[in-house]
């Protein structure tokens, strides 16, 4: 019975989580073309460079966003990795605590860097204060479970297993202890880079960024301690989508920093557990992207897809100083769930590449048929030849840009929200009052044509006297209204008699 129970559970979990399993089959990157130009690198078949040489090396592990230095070796070595699992209360957002389960005390876990062909002796230590058993599945491992079964470790114990890194590339590692989704959702993932034998090209900066989705009982940014919400996780409705495990991990004073004219390589992973990332840096174009950290690269990429349990190596060169925002371009995640990180690039301006703002003028789009009539009216008034018809024409153009959004092109307003101007008893009863309202705004209930409106109109005192006079002349004589022309001098008088400061328009 014991055995029976054992494998049933394994199957059941396996059935549900089969998507998580390591794909053991190595797919050739590209087969040899007839031209002979594109040859594959041989994958795992050519990844064994023989027995480890030299003294064993203790791997340098780094916390995000830092990346260990290149291995700078030309021979396969035995590399010892010691990774400690700790369950920690950390800040997921300002004033919001969450219990993370971590590889090395951080989310994502420590970055591991080895060379293809290295023999990795892996020690997984589960801190005595842990409540849960943990293990590790490294996607860079060739072997059943990616190390998971061999590294299953109770609290206060440690396990050891050894693997040879046969495939070069950038690989996710994660905990695979049941329930796997919960262990991953609590932050148990990170990246291991298996360098190609010749190493990577030299760059000025290497950074480590990893996305993850988080599920809390409370709402986004609800203060205090927040527990894991299993149902939200099952429903794939994250409360947070984050880079490096916290809303503030890579923002403000903790933003990544470079100078202009530098090359940047980012190792970007996605721990999931559920969401696929559309990784994008606002204002930059990736010169190179190695999807899945693979051997080939694509050039000139705007947004790159990073699957849950996958990674990409992106490279770009900085030209223009400023702040570059990294997002998951599934954009509500960025602005409503925290998927924002920042890169600050300092250096001299490069106006030849990017000018910054050169102009800021009013633009009223297709609502503006012609502002010529406004100019004509202005000239006519200066000459003293202004007619009511010119005023109406100029007022019509200005009305479209300023008033029609609320009062509508046909002056009918919106029922219960914005009162009508067409055939408005409120308007015709006191044309002078309209000047005050345009200048000072109107707050609170008014009765128009028998209906009460209780809304707010902001002051429009940014309009000059001519403009207000023309608009009101247009309003007084449109949509069946028949009223007086308004003279700019009247507006000027009203403006002078008003207490509110000029220029405080909305």
């Amino acid at each position: 019975m014991s055995n029976y129970k054992s494998f049933c559970l394994a199957i059941a979990v396996g059935l549900v989580l089969s998507g998580c399993g390591k794909e053991s089959a190595q797919q050739p990157v590209a087969s040899a073309h007839a031209s002979g130009v594109l040859l594959d690198t041989g994958g795992s078949r050519k990844g064994d460079f023989g027995a480890p040489q030299g003294e064993p090396i203790n791997a340098v592990l780094t916390n995000p966003p830092n990346v260990p230095p290149p291995t700078a070796r030309n021979y396969p070595a035995k590399v010892i990795v010691e990774l400690e699992v700790k369950e920690l209360d950390l800040e997921i957002s300002e004033g919001v605590k969450y219990t993370f389960w971590t590889f090395g005390g951080t989310v994502p876990g420590s970055f591991i860097r080895v060379r293809q062909g290295d023999t990795v002796e892996f020690h997984l230590k589960n801190h005595p204060s842990s409540k849960m058993p943990h293990n590790i599945d490294l996607h860079g491992v060739t072997g059943p479970g990616g190390g998971a079964a061999s590294s299953f470790t109770a609290p206060g114990h440690q396990s050891q297993f050894t693997f040879k890194a046969l495939n070069q590339g950038l690989y996710v590692y994660h905990c695979a202890t049941a329930p796997v989704g919960m262990h991953v959702a609590n932050g148990m993932y990170g990246l291991i880079l298996v360098e190609p034998p010749e190493g990577l090209s030299k760059v000025d900066h290497e950074f480590y960024v990893m996305q993850g989705d988080f599920y809390t009982v409370g709402k986004y940014r609800e203060k205090g301690y927040q527990a894991f919400d299993m149902q939200k996780a099952i429903d794939e409705h994250p409360t947070y989508v984050l880079f490096n495990g916290s809303e503030s991990a890579l923002t403000g004073p903790r933003a990544l920093k470079t100078k202009t004219n530098e090359s940047v390589r980012m190792f970007v992973g996605n721990g999931g557990p559920n969401l696929v990332s559309s990784f994008h840096v606002i204002g930059e174009i990736f010169d190179k992207v190695q999807y899945e950290g693979g051997t080939r690269y694509q050039e000139n990429v705007q947004t790159t897809l990073i699957p849950a349990g996958g990674a990409a190596t992106v490279e770009f060169h900085t030209e223009v100083p400023g702040t570059y925002v990294m997002v998951d371009h599934s954009i509500f995640r960025a602005f409503n769930k925290g998927a924002l990180a920042m890169l600050e690039v300092s250096g001299d301006k490069r106006a030849d590449i990017y000018s910054g703002k050169e102009q800021d003028e009013v633009y009223i789009g297709d609502k503006l048929e012609s502002l010529a009539s406004v100019a004509t009216a202005q000239e006519a008034r200066a000459k003293g030849t202004l007619t009511k018809a010119q005023q109406i024409e100029a007022g019509a153009a200005l009305y479209k840009g300023t008033c029609s959004v609320c009062h509508q092109d046909n002056g009918a307003g919106l029922p219960n929200v914005f009162p009508p101007l067409a055939k408005s008893d409120f308007l015709t009863e006191n044309p002078a009052r309209a000047i005050e309202i345009v200048l000072n705004g109107l707050n609170g209930p008014v009765k128009v044509n028998g209906a009460t409106y209780n809304s707010v109109m902001p002051p429009m005192s940014q309009l000059n006297d001519d403009e207000i006079a023309n608009i009101l002349t247009f309003v007084n004589n449109s949509w069946g209204n028949s009223g007086p022309a308004i003279d700019a001098a009247q507006v000027k008088t009203t403006r002078a008699g008003t207490k509110r400061a000029e220029g405080a328009a909305h």
Partner: protein, 260 residues
């Protein structure tokens, strides 16, 4: 109104008296509660096509075994002192939290004993002419809440358990801090993990996603764990924890209680 207050006061007095009784130290016999027989769907099917488990009635310790109770056992059985125990029977962290090999920290006397191996837990229960519960007995007793024998479909039951899982291990409370379930048993959730007699038979593979051979599905297809039920997630975590242990292992959150 007065009557109500009096009643409330009385029940408070009774409750505190009961709690004190639960904390009875040393040789005084720990309180055991009768867990009624029952039939339920275990997360682990018994046999092919059979997912309902029948559990006979048994008596269970009302609360986990305390440091003080375990100290009395160690005093009577010195071979279970941490400085004398065989390394085959308990790892180096066995009772490491005690002040001396025979004395727990005073403030922890009424807390659940932790850092005990399966062998040690078993020996303790034998000394009381009792035994460790089987997994099914433990699972059945722990499926209850205050009013129902099987409360596993109650979202609150589940959330309480998950809430404990999602917090790091802090200071332990004294035993009896949690409300009694319908059997009168306390602290089955939210305090410590607990050893079971057949923990070894629950052994989930270290990699819980292992694909079974095609043939295996015929054995447990229908009775297989349905993972979308999150209360079973909660139970699964306990099984995963037990599966990570060897019989000589001890951890800072692993305790036990006896049945008979």
């Amino acid at each position: 109104m007065k009557t109500l207050i009096v009643a409330a006061a009385l029940s408070l007095a009774w409750a505190s008296g009961f709690a004190a009784n639960l904390r009875a130290e040393g040789t005084q016999r720990p309180a055991m509660m009768r867990v009624a027989a029952g039939e339920f769907e275990s997360v682990l099917p018994v046999a092919p096509g059979k997912n309902r488990v029948r559990v006979a009635s048994f008596e269970m310790d009302a609360v986990p075994v305390t440091n003080a109770q375990f100290a009395a056992f160690v005093a009577a059985n010195p071979k279970w002192r941490r400085d004398r125990v065989s390394r085959l029977m308990a790892d180096p962290q066995y009772l490491a939290h005690w002040q001396t090999p025979t004395t727990p920290v005073a403030a922890e006397r009424n807390q659940p004993v932790i850092r005990v191996s399966w062998y040690a837990a078993r020996a303790y229960c034998e000394s009381r002419e009792a035994r460790l519960p089987t997994w099914y007995e433990w699972e059945w007793a722990a499926a209850a809440n205050e009013s129902k024998a099987d409360a596993r479909n109650d979202p609150r039951w589940t959330q309480q358990i998950l809430a404990w899982y999602s917090q790091p291990a802090g200071a332990l409370p004294d035993v009896g801090s949690r409300p009694a379930n319908i059997h009168g048993v306390r602290d089955l959730h939210g305090v410590v993990w607990e050893w079971v007699e057949d923990y070894n038979g629950l052994m989930v593979a270290g990699d819980n996603r292992q694909q079974a051979e095609a043939d295996d599905t015929r054995f447990c297809g229908p009775g297989a764990l349905t993972m979308e039920q999150k209360e079973q997630y909660a139970t699964l975590m306990r099984i995963a924890m037990l599966s990570s242990l060897k019989a000589e292992f001890t951890t800072a959150t692993m305790g036990f209680r006896c049945v008979r």
